[in-house]
Symmetry: D2
Subunit: 274 residues, 4 copies
Amino acid sequence: MPQPVTHVSSHLEAEVTAVAEIVLSVAVAYGVEEETLTVSVDGSPVAVEEVLAPHGTRLHVLRDVPVGALVVDYRASVPAGHGPAPIPSAQDAAEPLERITYLRPSRYAESDALSSVAVAEFDGLAGKALLDAVSSWVGQHLTYVSGSSGPTDGAVKIYVEREGVCRDYAHLVIALLRARGVPARLVSVYAPGLEPMDFHAVVEARLEDGWYLVDATNLAPRQAMVRIATGRDAADTAFMTVNTGRMDFTGMRVTAIREPNLPVDDVTKLVRLR
Amino acid sequence: MPQPVTHVSSHLEAEVTAVAEIVLSVAVAYGVEEETLTVSVDGSPVAVEEVLAPHGTRLHVLRDVPVGALVVDYRASVPAGHGPAPIPSAQDAAEPLERITYLRPSRYAESDALSSVAVAEFDGLAGKALLDAVSSWVGQHLTYVSGSSGPTDGAVKIYVEREGVCRDYAHLVIALLRARGVPARLVSVYAPGLEPMDFHAVVEARLEDGWYLVDATNLAPRQAMVRIATGRDAADTAFMTVNTGRMDFTGMRVTAIREPNLPVDDVTKLVRLR
Amino acid sequence: MPQPVTHVSSHLEAEVTAVAEIVLSVAVAYGVEEETLTVSVDGSPVAVEEVLAPHGTRLHVLRDVPVGALVVDYRASVPAGHGPAPIPSAQDAAEPLERITYLRPSRYAESDALSSVAVAEFDGLAGKALLDAVSSWVGQHLTYVSGSSGPTDGAVKIYVEREGVCRDYAHLVIALLRARGVPARLVSVYAPGLEPMDFHAVVEARLEDGWYLVDATNLAPRQAMVRIATGRDAADTAFMTVNTGRMDFTGMRVTAIREPNLPVDDVTKLVRLR
Amino acid sequence: MPQPVTHVSSHLEAEVTAVAEIVLSVAVAYGVEEETLTVSVDGSPVAVEEVLAPHGTRLHVLRDVPVGALVVDYRASVPAGHGPAPIPSAQDAAEPLERITYLRPSRYAESDALSSVAVAEFDGLAGKALLDAVSSWVGQHLTYVSGSSGPTDGAVKIYVEREGVCRDYAHLVIALLRARGVPARLVSVYAPGLEPMDFHAVVEARLEDGWYLVDATNLAPRQAMVRIATGRDAADTAFMTVNTGRMDFTGMRVTAIREPNLPVDDVTKLVRLR
């Protein structure tokens, strides 16, 4: 029987209109077997510098990107079942600093502002029951509407407007969990089975016995997800960030295929990460 | 001639009303010569665990703090002129990851939301001229009003309301600098000469040749400041954070005395950190 | 048996620091039997111009108030049981324009922003059941905390923060009702029995058969309330508004005594206004 | 020489998905010579009730609109040069109540929240100089970007984000003027010469000697504008409002033609309304 493997790719296009410094976060965090990343402007290659960030996150910095048509192509194959787990993390022990960091309010997960809401909705719950309750609440109270939220919207706005996309679901889950004393962070992933295919965002929440994966959207099988970046919220995990200069994003295409296909019966299961 | 030295202290009182986990950020980051930290509830000592965070930040975690009257007493003496600088940081080279991190929007320094404002006000400026312009703008457009802002207020709110305290000045400076491509972070300090005495918050901004100290309040001499915590914004540097449980803050007293006294002529100077 | 009567008064003090135009909204709307309103600055009388507004609201405009210590004294006696009802309004038929006006979102009752919340919480309810449900929800989910909200806070902020005073309870009730298609407006009142005594704010909501009084705070008997101003929200009913100039509010005292005392058993009842 | 005349029309399409009550605000306020308004759902006519509102505003209420394809067609011809002025209003004397009303903060013109900004930017200015300064500031600091703002966005958000459409320009002008003591209101108009053609929104501001028209967008000749609705802000003037039920807006077309064409040299002039 062949070893299961996940093939992922992302293709990004943008128009750079003023010399720019750009950070990419599209590379798989752990366990890559084969991988290519090519970046060009108007067909000429652009130098890429890899920067390591916590939790295996691998950022790629493009400096002095000239004006023109920027094209980013990333492809990787990640074997499953050996090497680092698709979404590993328990070995990444919840050090005291990690616990403190992921309890803090962050740009798009304003747990401080939502503390009264979190008490009102989830008082008395703890552990897995709390994770389940928060995930269900967010899944039931939000409606997934493409384009309904903007890049500066955070959990408070989403809580009031009740609409969003995967990153918004994740931010609201994170904010509510932190407000109840559970460290939580955002993970961007390639998610085989996601419909329509795109980058996906899920939550990792820390209980006594390890990190758990929470995906209030229930849009993709969890076992097949492939970790990209891990951080406080989308400020740490956006797939493309313009540090300086100017760029108009013009298009993207993401693929993620698991061979053999994973059964979809784990979509809503609470997964404890190995 | 005696070695100059700074004596600092902080005394915090709170009523714990539900068993709590509390994080203190009152200890001096570097160069402490003598130091005591005592914590008690209703007179009984509480165990303290030290957790190291980036940039020398030393957090102190209190776990399972029982209900009762919490008292925290911290005292330290920090020699000046040798050992780590009062606000060191250039040795702490602007690693690529640090640059990326401190350009990101954060909870109270929403540089993404203020990007149009930053362009409108500071377009064409760079380097020290930009730091000076942002610091002057914030100093002139905000009014220092004790109690005018709340713990969940960020730079956007302060920008509209035009009132705040030192942390608000710092957040607005940080947000505007990041929006113009300058990495910036918040530093909590003991500040001899501050009137009225309290914890103080200033900004470190990264230019090509090192980190610079920016204090738009111009309320205290910069050379005498003693670093406590360093981070993205007040979410990383608050002197007391309740992770779980409940606590009513009831009072505090901060002291910071430099011997001999420092001349105040450096209050408004742009300081490049060694 | 003597005719029941309510005696009300308000005493306001402020420091005018730049020649000001000020609007007072302290006078009883209907049915006053005896009334005095005196206004002075540093002991010298200030001219008062009465301006009639919808629903019997009587505003008092002070023009060119000089710098100095402003003192406002208002006293009135309002007989109950004859003449206009304490909180009349059904005769004030829900004209089509009134219905349209009080369905619109307003400054502090942002029904447009809370429409998804209102659907999620109150879908399927109508009429008195809806009024009861909204009033109970707001009463149970908010905590009454003096000083917790500011003058620019509206229903969205209160909904997230879950704390406020009577005007905040009223704004949230209004916003949720409008979002469910029920015209609603704010009424400022003198409220005998309120503890501690202050101006009070309640809601009038329009059903098919008339206007109903909703007070989610349940802090005072409804039958004894005496109407002051009626409008979209606190922007229309604030007891003191500075149009131009500057003023620091320094103190106030409100009294409202019903003779004979009203039984308090109507505190939580849904009252249909005559 | 023929009498100048303006021909206007609006055509709205929507899908009603739950029996709805809808308010239209598309009819010309004054001086109409010929006019037709037809409303249908799936081709069957819908009854229309006209409701008069202040300042000549004529609202049209559709009750119990059934599920189906709603089509609204409005056409009118308005002679210029005689009868009510295109944007009349001085006869509409600034009654004391009107002054008070249009100084109040409103849903989308939060003058209370922007008071510090208004002082900082426009202190010392009054009268026409203030109108000019506010109009120029808004025109220069905002960028007109179709689709950049949403229906719940107000002046505070626009002030921070610096992008918007005509209604946003108007809301920011109104908020800043009210905060400086100048009564200001929003007027929706048909605007011959507007590019691309759409409903337009402008501001009326009250000085001692009458109401003045302020259009910070400078997108259309002022003398040719034809008044539709007048109110505190877009909450009072939206061309289509759903009071109850549900509707998806699917398309619209607006025309406004002046015969003969008006010279465009009045686009940026401060116009005092007759």
